[in-house]
Point group: C2
Chain length 333, copies 2
């Protein structure tokens, strides 16, 4: 079978990040759950922005960051998500196009503004996210073209898509089209609180055979299986019969199949500046390496490398040529 035109098509909320440094005391004052993503309305968005420090504006969105990483590693990437035709939406579109990412979803011409995520980066490098979903909520089934879905070897969906009601339908339509076109389906659990909101639906997707590759960090996996014990959660994942990829921050990653659980190391980092995008870029490196025919150990290695790059600077997308970096480290990309 000939290779499809796209290596990976990612689908998610189209969001611009507004990143600022903040002390832990600010997080407490503002009554925010540190390290998590929480949804906020427009009024709260305005109040929070007013209270926060000087900001850096960069395109973000979990699945879009993953597409950026794949493109940066020389892969052919596409993205589906919704912006408005406003300043931030134009920036978002520019940034994807500048990376050669296929992005054909028409921007909304009215309705809420382009989604923004206020990312508060604490001195420990941890990021805490506050998302106003805006225009990204209006991603609908109409934005899912089965021909586009079928043009990708892997369709990658983010759990955050379950927050906007219409996007959920788009999500299901995409999975159906992917199955029909024999594209693989990858899914990231996104956030432990997101898992908490949609646990039964996420388990349903996994157990219905809709998912081939599942990405999760330890907190998300524990939330999925409602356990505080990592090994219990990994054992539960083992029984699902998917390819499970469990990121464990500086402890590295588990790659889990029904047959075995393999552990691979993280890539060492001198000092963590901002963890925004770490999981997104791990997934990018992992999928890009697999699509180039690398084995599981090398895929985990490229994932770790891409994640390490993104946490050494402010912002959720790579700032160096990831392909050069991977080649320097000896990966045959």
């Amino acid at each position: 079978m000939p290779h499809k035109p796209l290596d990976v098509l990612t689908i998610g909320n189209a969001i611009v990040d507004i990143l600022a440094h903040a002390d832990d005391s600010f997080i407490i004052e503002q009554n925010i759950v540190k390290g998590a993503m929480q949804l906020i309305d427009e009024e709260r968005a305005l109040a929070l922005y007013k209270a926060m420090g000087p900001a850096t504006v960069m395109s973000g969105g979990s699945a879009a960051n993953t597409a950026a990483g794949i493109a940066g590693l020389g892969g052919k990437a596409g993205f589906i998500g919704k912006v408005r035709n406003d300043g931030l939406g134009n920036s978002f579109r520019h940034d994807l196009k500048a990376l050669g990412i296929s992005y054909t979803v028409a921007p909304a011409v009215d309705g809420p503004a382009t989604a923004r995520c206020f990312v508060l980066v604490t001195p420990d490098g941890e990021r805490t996210m506050n998302t106003y979903l805006g225009a990204s909520q209006n991603l609908s089934e109409d934005d899912i073209d089965p021909a586009v879905i079928g043009s990708a070897e892997v369709v990658y969906l983010e759990g955050y898509l379950w927050d906007p009601p219409a996007a959920k339908q788009a999500f299901r339509k995409a999975i159906k089209a992917a199955r029909k076109a024999k594209s693989k389906v990858a899914f990231t659990l996104s956030d432990s609180f997101c898992v908490d909101r949609y646990r039964e639906e996420f388990l349903g997707l996994i157990r219905h055979g809709d998912i081939d590759i599942l990405f999760a960090n330890t907190a998300e996996l524990k939330s999925l299986y409602e356990t505080s014990d990592e090994l219990t959660a990994v054992q539960a994942l083992k029984n699902e019969g998917v390819l499970g990829v469990v990121t464990r921050s500086e402890k590295g990653v588990y790659v889990v199949t029904r047959e075995e659980t393999r552990s691979f190391p993280a890539f060492p980092v001198e000092s963590v500046v901002d963890t925004t995008g770490a999981g997104d870029l791990f997934a990018a490196g992992f999928l890009a390496a697999l699509s180039k025919g690398l084995d599981m150990a090398d895929a985990a290695g490229v994932g770790a490398l891409a994640a390490a790059e993104v946490i050494t600077h402010i912002g959720p997308r790579p700032q160096v040529n990831l392909l050069d970096l991977a080649r320097q480290e000896g990966y045959r990309m």
Copy 2:
């Protein structure tokens, strides 16, 4: 005489930076002078943005960066410059206010959009700037309140202000008000090509006794005195009778008076990521330290430290607490 409410009031073009990495080949293809600032019109701005890579958006503007540095060092700073009431203008205002900088100039409600500078950062860390002046061109005499000028110990003006015709009048009015209120006047030459455009006027300001402190880098100073020899230029500056501060990149700085030329070292940096803001932050550190009563050697040291911080990351404003940094280095700020 009691200390005035503001340590430093800076006046300059109010600009948002749109920063992207670029190869040297891109600079050549686009027919841009590497390392310089050039003015572009709206059409060129659109074309350049379309051609350039994924971007980071951060408040910039030379004099505004200096105000940010002074505030970051615990100084009381103010800024005068003009934005529009659009998305970028709101970001610019937010970022100054979040730093506690006094900024009372009303945004334009119509006319051109907020100014933006497309900053291309090459692999050597050098930045090349392309500025669409937009709303910043409409800074006028009406925006200069003599009471605000007189409320600052030092009024700091950027040479770039001579590009928009109306701003030049604002500049002259500010100097007059500063003289009357016995505020010191500091002036930065901004850019060697800018000096080339306004050499006679800049020399006129210096020789008319309008300037107390002159900031320049080596290229700007050589342009001012139309010489290719650094020592000749420094000697010429010596004769002007101002306090001259000549930044020399990794070679450090000369502090020049009629009596003597003293040389102070740069602060060592492991790897230069982006030189945007280096001169602005040197001036910030130097002026903030002087306003706290530190001597010339320490002022040069704090300037070097602030410049070193800003060149180790993307963007023209500090990303760490500069006051903590200066204290860690033993400066009694």
